[in-house]
């Protein structure tokens, strides 16, 4: 058990800065997701914490101790790689025991801990199996067990679910969540899947192009994105521009009270989630629109609506719309998020 603090972390890789001035605090027992598209530098951060990459600037604290000069094998942070990387020359039990043996644990003690962890990861009875006799999900659990059995202060998971199919991924997500809740192990979880990050973690930390863009509870990132790029990453695709005047954001589509917004007459950008826009074939709402395209996506239908100069994307469970149809739309003011910072254009 312990906390993890990253201070002004900058990491270069082949001369190029991959991670820039990155700050993060993971509290004791917390599960934090490091979210970002591939190539954003997530794995690099994880490797730096594990001690496999040396940061060019900044400090890392594990359990209050600076670890910058501590070798990887001496750090109380264990990383689980994206590929399972089980040793094929060892069986399941020996794989799990690998770290314990290296740390010189006594046989009886090690055996007890392995039994415990096999049970926790639902691998009981598979201890004697060869690695290649396991399914993908089982391999992933062995890889997780191999790290958990060491009881590290910090567990680092690098996209552990990305190689699994959809059903298995859901099961594993729940398993990881349960294990984390049970062991209260401080966990830093890397993923590129926003749904996974939102579902699994206490807090989410969004990394774009090597820079930290926003940290917060899943709901905060989803509903209160800090800037248009964050919104876009979470599937936001409707942006409107307007000006703030006398505490009201005025645009051609909606007027939103914005008492906290300061500055008069400044150009601002706002966003609304596609599922929040209301659409009607009748004359219920004030804005006229014409449907450009529809896309059936199962539980919802995605509809592109041209309205004045803008094209809005609407998600609705109603799928009676056809391209070319004239509709009315409404942007509920309470669902519109005005970005705090000034933006010139999107």
């Amino acid at each position: 058990m312990g906390d993890l603090i990253l201070k002004n972390l900058t990491i270069h890789y082949g001369g190029e800065p991959v991670v820039n001035d990155f700050n993060l605090e993971v509290r004791n027992g917390e599960m934090v997701s490091l979210l970002g598209p591939s190539g954003a530098g997530k794995t690099t951060v994880l490797k730096a914490v594990a001690g496999l990459i040396k940061p060019s600037k900044g400090e890392i604290f594990i359990d209050g101790q600076p670890v910058n000069n501590l070798a990887a094998e001496k750090r109380s942070a264990v990383m689980v790689f994206q590929k399972t990387l089980l040793f094929p020359f060892l069986n399941v039990e020996q794989n799990i025991a690998f770290g314990l043996r290296m740390q010189g644990h006594k046989d009886a003690d090690a055996r007890r801990r392995i039994e415990q962890i096999l049970q926790l990861t639902e691998l009981t009875g598979l201890g004697r199996r060869k690695v290649h006799q396991l399914s993908g999900g089982q391999q992933q659990r062995v890889s997780l067990a191999r790290a958990l059995v060491l009881k590290p202060a910090v567990l680092l998971l690098d996209e552990p679910l990305s190689n699994l199919d959809a059903n298995l991924r859901q099961q594993m997500r729940e398993l990881i969540q349960d294990i984390q809740a049970e062991t209260r192990i401080t966990t830093l979880f890397v993923t590129h899947d926003q749904a996974e990050a939102l579902m699994i973690s206490h807090r989410v930390c969004l990394l774009l192009n090597g820079r930290l863009r926003q940290t917060g509870k899943p709901r905060e990132l989803f509903y209160l994105p800090a800037d248009p790029e964050v919104a876009r990453f979470f599937g936001g695709c409707n942006f409107i521009q307007g000006r703030v005047k006398d505490g009201v954001f005025r645009s051609e589509f909606a007027n939103v009270p914005a008492p906290q917004a300061n500055g008069n007459g400044h150009l601002r950008t706002a966003t609304i989630r596609p599922e929040d826009i209301l659409l009607s074939p009748d004359a219920n709402y004030g804005l006229h629109g014409k449907i450009a395209k529809t896309n059936f996506e199962g539980s919802a239908t995605r509809i592109w609506v041209n309205c004045r100069e803008n094209r809005f994307v609407v998600l609705t469970s109603d799928n009676d719309y056809t391209p070319g149809q004239k509709v009315r739309i409404h942007l509920p003011p309470d669902k519109i998020r005005i970005f705090p910072c000034e933006t010139e254009s999107v």
């Binding site: 490797k47 594990a50 001690g51 496999l52 070798a71 990887a72 094998e73 001496k74 750090r75 942070a77 264990v78 990383m79 790689f81 590929k83 990387l85 040793f87 094929p88 020359f89 690998f98 770290g99 290296m102 740390q103 191999r146 790290a147 060491l150 680092l156």
Partner: protein, 264 residues
């Protein structure tokens, strides 16, 4: 379809690889066998008697010498081949193409040239006509193969295994023994076997550098061939082939099913 295909292949293998051995066996068990005749005129154990009796000590000494040279050569060539193959397989650096050209040179240049050229140097260095000299000249032929094999092995090697092991608490030196060697073991065995067999069959270079002092089995074999006693030469040939054959069969069985890279 498949049984026929397999039959054709196994027949071809037996005909090309097995038949010469049959002839060799017949030769070794014949006392007298003259040209136009299909079978030896007289069968007997004269040749084997010579191999195990009269010349037994000489042949045993040559056998031991051959094994020693081949084993030491194989060990050194693998010990150099592993770090070299790892560097070539895992890292990008300038001059990689040049290295692969240089590595193939001893294979392309006739062994006679290499051995003759090295002989002068070895005399100056005082290793001509010594065990060490013979091992060194064998290494010039074995190293390219061993480096190339291990280059391939490490091209398929995922160094993340080592990162994972480090993170699980293994020091960077222990990682070599605990992770890298076990993962690449099948490939290392192949490289060692290649080197062993190459060294085992060296004649010219051993003759030139060894100067008759280091008598390996091929040296003895050629001497016997020269004497014109075919049955004895055939018997010694079989003695010569046997250890290599055993080594090959063992490794084929041991490595069966595993990929040469030993990974995935």
């Amino acid at each position: 379809m498949r049984p026929i295909k397999q039959n054709v292949i196994s027949t071809a293998v037996i005909a090309t690889v097995g038949l010469p051995f049959v002839v060799l066996m017949i030769w070794s068990f014949s006392n007298r066998w003259f040209y136009p005749e299909l079978w030896p005129r007289q069968w007997g154990f004269r040749a084997w008697d010579y191999v195990f009796g009269t010349a037994g000590f000489q042949i045993m000494a040559a056998l031991v010498q051959s094994v020693l040279v081949a084993v030491v050569t194989a060990l050194i060539s693998v010990a150099i081949g592993i770090p070299a193959g790892r560097a070539l397989g895992l890292y990008e650096f300038k001059g990689k193409d040049l290295i692969s050209v240089i590595l193939t040179l001893p294979v392309i240049v006739p062994p006679l040239c290499v051995a003759m050229g090295l002989h002068l140097w070895f005399i100056k260095l005082g290793v001509a006509s010594t065990f060490l000299g013979v091992v060194l000249v064998h290494l010039t032929f074995c190293l390219p193969y061993s480096v190339f094999v291990l280059w391939g092995v490490f091209s398929n090697y995922n160094p993340d295994y080592e990162g994972q092991a480090r993170s699980l608490g293994v020091s960077s030196w222990k990682v070599i023994v605990r992770v890298m060697l076990p993962l690449t073991f099948p490939g290392i065995v192949v490289a060692a076997l290649f080197s062993f067999l190459l060294s085992w069959s060296q004649y010219l270079s051993t003759l030139i550098i060894g100067g008759g002092r280091v008598t390996t089995l091929p040296i003895l074999l050629f001497a016997l061939m020269g004497s014109g006693d075919r049955p004895v030469a055939a018997a010694v040939s079989i003695v010569f082939v046997a250890p290599a054959f055993v080594a090959l069969a063992f490794s084929a069985r041991y490595l069966g099913g595993k990929s040469i890279a030993g990974i995935r």
